[in-house]
Amino acid sequence: MGSNMAECHPVAFRWPMKAKLNGAKIIHVDPRFTRTSAVADFHVPIRAGSDIAFLGGLINYVVHSERWNKDPFFKDYTVHYTNLATIVNEDYKDTEDLEGVFSGLVGYKEPDFWPFNGFLGRYDNKTWQYERGPKPAGPSTEEIIKKRGSFDDLLRSLRKGTAKTDPTLQHPRCVFQLLKKHYSRYTPEIVEQICGCSKEKFLKVAEALLENSGRDRTTAFAYAVAWTQHTYGVQIISCCALLEQLTGNMGRPGGGIMALRGHAAIQGSTDVPTLYHSIHGYMNAPSAVRPHDTLRDYIAAETPPTGYWANGPKWMVSYLKSVYGDAATAENDFGYDWHPKILGDHSHMACFAAMNEGKIKGACIVGQNPATSLNGTATRRALRQLDWLVVKDNWLTETATHWYLAPEVKSGEVKVGDIKTEIFFFPSTQIAEYDGSYTNTQRMLQWHSMAAKAPGDCRTDSWFYHNLAKRLKKAYAGSKLPRDEGWNKVTWDFDPDPGEVPLYPGEISALKVLREINGYMTGNPKQHLKGFGELKDDGSTTCASWIYCGCFPAWDQNLTARREPDPPGVPGAHLKWGWAWPANRRNIYNRASADLNGNPWSERKRWVWWDPNFVNPPDPKTGKKVPNGKWVGYDVPDFTLTMPPSHKGNPDGIIMEPLSGTDAYIMRPEGKGWIFVPAGLVDGPFPTHYEPHESPVQNLLYPKQQSSPVHKVWSQGKPWNPLAAAVGDPKFPYVITTYRLTEHYLAGAMSRWLPWLSELQPELFIELGRGLAKEKGINNLDYVIITTPRSHVRAKALVTDRIGVMKVAGKTIHHVGMPWHWGWMGLSTGDVVNDLTAWVGDPNVSIHEGKAFVCNVEKA
């Protein structure tokens, strides 16, 4: 669901096809019958944007099924490994109580200093918390911060009382009962009404899912951006996570959720982030609008006191040592005050909204083609407000040429002479033209070597930023201004060592960067860290990204360069192929692949298990004997290796001390997977069906709450982001979804210029059903005009039965779809489909709603 894996991840799709040959069933739930549907065992068409109704229907089906209630596996898994038995405090009110909103909904007002956050509302999640015993005694967090106490004391002060549970699942406020109530109206009939798929098809999926979950069998979900690009995208994924935990599929071989990332190294770009809101290893970025005044304030605000995340101070201090080097000391909080702080939402659309209002003066556009993305008309208008623009790409993309070739310039609406932006173009290398690592969707780092020299002056992105940084360091070197102190203290040492020949003049040493990311002993950079377990919060270790710690465990040991597959006939964790974070673990939360006693749930699904007879060597530090017993298996166990399944945690402890031998979800503060999400998501503890921002139908479940109450709308009321489509607006009667094709790549810079790819899909098209084509007198290959409140585009019609009509809430709704790869440059050209999309998005991650909106279609 939410993925067209065969088309968009054809290489990875090798494995589902292998599984199919071995007897696995592939089910494709998608508004379109795609190349994935073509090889699936069955395809279930649902209306774009109705995924939570479908998944909620599956949840409702599962909890009321005989199998789930009778087979002890499901209760064993969920009661012990998830928070299904946890009791939620009595002030919590569900969407079923409040007609579509959760308790804690408050208004949102944009702050003057950065009014580009877009929230329509906000939740205070106080009422979503567990019911807890008394908070352990001890000094308060404020006191510890004030006297600059130790990080461990700080964590101790953050402890909450133990959460109350009811393992019988009978308590009316336990998560299970709340869950049952929350999804009670998601019946097969309502799924049919909202999703537009037949009840029979839905039930076929539900039966297959349940039948294929349990001790002996597992079910996996694969999703991609068709789940993220919604005003409730994170909740769709969360809903799937809920279902996978409920059915005991998480942390087990063949189970879980595969997040198919859109690009070979996009996983890497969030791990070692180009994201504004997180720093390396998914630590939250220090923020001026959060209580982050000092390092201890930051840790108090961002670190749970228990569970593995409670090691955060070690990761943060080691990260600051990497940024500021010798200048980072315990006395100056390791340079924390120098670290930049965010002011709010600085994501793509927020920045382009700010750019439109003249708040951003210059932009570097690298590896991206925004002139063809997300409400392209507004985006190009924003680009025209800039003083300067740098575009670094393989070709002169639409972003580099918008000033003289954009549709609004060609139509005369915008005069070239009125654009004051100075635009610089830097030719770029391709991936095969340099050394480096990329991280794939499996969290696996693979080193690659240069295959060919780049032509002419093409340079890498690292070359660009490395040399920019060096010049900026030089420019600010003399400054005594306090605001420049941080920049002047940043260490920047990526020039190749003497004797190492750079790939291009002025190029960095890529190995040196990976070494810095892996980390080393501060006193001896040649002594690499072997894993994040070695990180310290006293400055003695330096590590840019804790999750990558261990990929380069010795000066001459780059594990990402390994290429040794497992031999045929073994389960195939392939631990010697590249290196996967964390700790080279291929399947996370894999303690859950064993039962409460540490034995595999079944022989067929063996992955990691407790070996009680394993003879452990004595503790290297104390020399003391370690009792027998260890977690072993095909994969790197995701658990404290010598903690027996019978271990009882110390409820008064911090970090891992309170966790027991069955607390499989070690990253969660209580060691349990979150079926109910008390914190972390801004739009609710349970996924709930809302309609997209633009929808042809009313929300059937919550007529008073059409869309998510807290989703984002940027530039609301501004002429460049018109949102005029009312619910069921007859001017825009059709549901439209946008997508990619195998033959082209993203905004086209890597495919539309290549003859071999361009001839395969030479022109933009719209896929529409025969019914709509007949109604509108459109023949195959006719030009049609597609209109939304933002803009209109022209495309050729591809009339097909692979997309079509659906019966939704008693209405007949036509569904159409358009690939969005095109622009006016390159060999294969076409209108910019993203000119149709709006600046509305998800409140958690600020991604736009490009997968479900409404439009009109007319013959041109």
Partner: protein, 274 residues
């Protein structure tokens, strides 16, 4: 002598990604039609439409639907069949088309005079003139790669192993197993060209199909051109006349090449395109 080698294409696992088309073009340095600038064909996701002198691999898309979302979408990567009894080889007047030590059929571009006889003779419509060389061209089963122990570019690139490369004996065993597996699942699956007693002595590129061959654009009874000669004397005479003319063209061409000291590619191309 190495064993006969070839392809087994299992269409049931083809995802229509066209990696085979691109890998073929990249390895063999074949140009895109009109430099890559083209128009949408309107025929499902197929925009290259057929095998020809610059498309040695072609992925066919067949939409079979009774109504919205109600049907199936078949995909098949097509290529030269490397027939055991090859019509092209039979008619080639210049001896440009040879059978290799791998039992594959290869057109030697430097010997081809562009006479087009093979184009007419191929029962599968595989061959055409490559406008760059001016000679008749088609899949070589990556003869150059086979010579150095590499598998052909297309099968190497196929992510789902829809295109499988190997010895014909091994591929046939695999193919029969797969048919049995599909039949057990209730799928109507048949092999096309796997039978050494069948048409053209068997095809060294054979297929697993789930519908009639015609649906995939494959002739049910592919025949050698010489069969037509035997059937009807009038037709035979006409064919002989055509072949005679072609042979003359071929001879003339060869003589021209000899006189011109090579560079025949362009001339042949011009002739071929008439």
């Amino acid at each position: 002598m190495p064993e006969p080698m070839g392809f087994f294409t299992d269409t049931t696992v083809c995802i229509g990604c066209k990696a085979c088309e691109v890998a073929c073009k990249e390895w063999n340095q074949l140009p895109a039609r009109n430099g890559g600038v083209g128009e949408l064909s309107g025929d499902s996701y197929d925009n290259t439409r057929k095998l020809d002198g610059i498309h040695w691999r072609h992925v066919r898309f067949i939409e079979q639907f009774k109504g919205p979302y109600d049907g199936r979408w078949l995909m098949m990567s097509d290529v030269c069949k490397h027939c055991v009894q090859a019509g092209c080889l039979e008619v080639c007047p210049t001896g440009a088309i040879i059978r290799t030590e791998f039992d594959t059929v290869v057109i030697q571009s430097d010997v081809c005079n562009g006479c087009r006889a093979c184009i007419a003779a191929c029962p599968f419509g595989v061959i055409d003139i490559n406008p760059v060389s001016g000679t008749a061209q088609k899949c070589t089963l990556c003869y150059d790669r086979l010579k150095v122990g590499l598998e052909p570019a297309c099968s190497k690139a196929c992510p789902t192993d829809s295109i499988q490369f190997g010895t014909i004996a091994e591929l046939r065993t695999r193919a029969h197993k797969r048919v049995d597996q599909l039949k057990a699942q209730g799928v109507k699956a048949e092999l096309y060209g796997a039978d050494p007693q069948g048409a053209l002595g068997g095809l060294n590129s054979f297929y697993l199909l789930v519908d009639e061959p015609e649906v995939y654009g494959l002739p049910r009874h592919p025949q050698l051109p010489s069969r037509h000669l035997a059937k009807s004397s009038t037709f035979s005479a006409a064919s002989a006349a055509v072949l005679g003319v072609l042979a003359l063209v071929g001879l003339r061409k060869r003589r021209m090449d000899e006189m011109g000291g090579g560079g025949g590619g362009g001339g042949g191309g011009a002739g071929g395109q008439n």
